[in-house]
Symmetry: C2
Subunit: 209 residues, 2 copies
């Protein structure tokens, strides 16, 4: 699979022989194991990956020209597929989107990559660009599509900037997952966020402005 163009692995691999795919998988899982163990991305060396995966370093270099390309493929392998939206209402679609994000936040590998990708934005532009174009932008576009549909259906106020509206739904979840020392991400959080953002925070007896 080629990561340079940002194609997710779900498009399939044409690298034939099973043994080669098994080695590739072992390498990806070797990186994930190190990240799950809390090794900072910067300390994940080819040598350490080789040991973790139980392969020789040459096996890694044969497949990836540098560490960054490997990390991009690890990211693709760790990312869950885009969620299927029920399409029953804007509120229901938003809950599924947020729930998918909540689940992803609970996956430490993704968390480690995101934390690191962010900071390494300036030094690993390839990783950040791949993450932005391959994960962030598609999810954001999906959110915008849901809100646009909701606006057409009379489920969303028509005078709000859609980009801001997306940030109002994902913002609380991202903030909680990445800023809090010990984030509390329980079941039901997605519904709670969606419904509270929709209804607003003014006292319920206030007249609509």
């Amino acid at each position: 699979m080629s990561s340079a163009e940002g194609r997710p692995p779900s498009y399939g691999s044409t690298r034939g022989r099973p043994r080669s795919e098994a080695v590739e998988q072992a390498i990806l899982e070797g990186v994930m194991q190190l990240l799950e163990d809390g090794v900072p991305l910067a300390d994940v060396s080819i040598e350490r990956i080789a040991r973790s995966a139980g392969v020789g370093k040459a096996a890694i270099y044969r497949r990836w020209s540098d560490k960054e390309d490997l990390f991009v493929d690890v990211m693709w392998a760790a990312e869950p597929a885009e969620p299927e939206l029920p399409g029953t209402s804007m509120r229901d679609d938003l809950v599924v989107l947020l729930e998918s994000m909540r689940q992803r936040s609970l996956v430490s590998v993704l968390s480690a990559i995101l934390h690191n990708a962010h900071a390494q934005m300036r030094s690993s532009p390839k990783l950040w660009a791949a993450y932005h174009s391959g994960v962030i932008t598609p999810r954001r576009d999906l959110g915008l599509k849901v809100l646009r549909r909701g606006r057409t259906n009379g489920e969303l106020r028509t005078d709000v900037d859609l980009e801001l509206a997306v940030e109002m739904f994902v913002g609380p979840l991202l903030t909680r997952a990445f800023i809090r020392h010990d984030p509390d991400l329980p079941d039901g959080l997605a519904e709670q966020i969606v419904d509270t953002v929709l209804h607003g925070l003014r006292p319920v007896s206030s007249a609509s402005a």
Copy 2:
């Protein structure tokens, strides 16, 4: 000033001689200049700082036992003081808080430190802990105080979790500042976020549930 306990520099320095304070200031500014130039935190070495500040390495080692302690002090030096709240209404206080955050997001030094502190959470626990206890927690507590006051005054609905409410206000701003490729943080954004979060996103003709 001692950074280990997380005291902000506004508490003053008792290191007497002016020449010593000038050297200390030059060192802090030397680090800030490197970060503003886009040098990743991991690449900011004592040697590089010494060159940037125009001092000898010994001058740095005399004052800070390791790089992390120095970065913590750089963070304190770069952080603006807590904003003064007008106290005229919950809405007005929230706007001042968010505007202060928006201003801080525009300061690249703080942005660089925050990006890096985040990722280095696992490898630089001192920096993250100092940032969390010295910046994040006090700001969050201030936000909670404003919301509690608003709830007492009938300006905030009484059935919402206050922690979530804080995240609803700061979330959109943080998301925009850190996730967007080219964040748009114009004047007026603080008011826009506060008012939209307060009123909610349902169409204005909806009856209150």
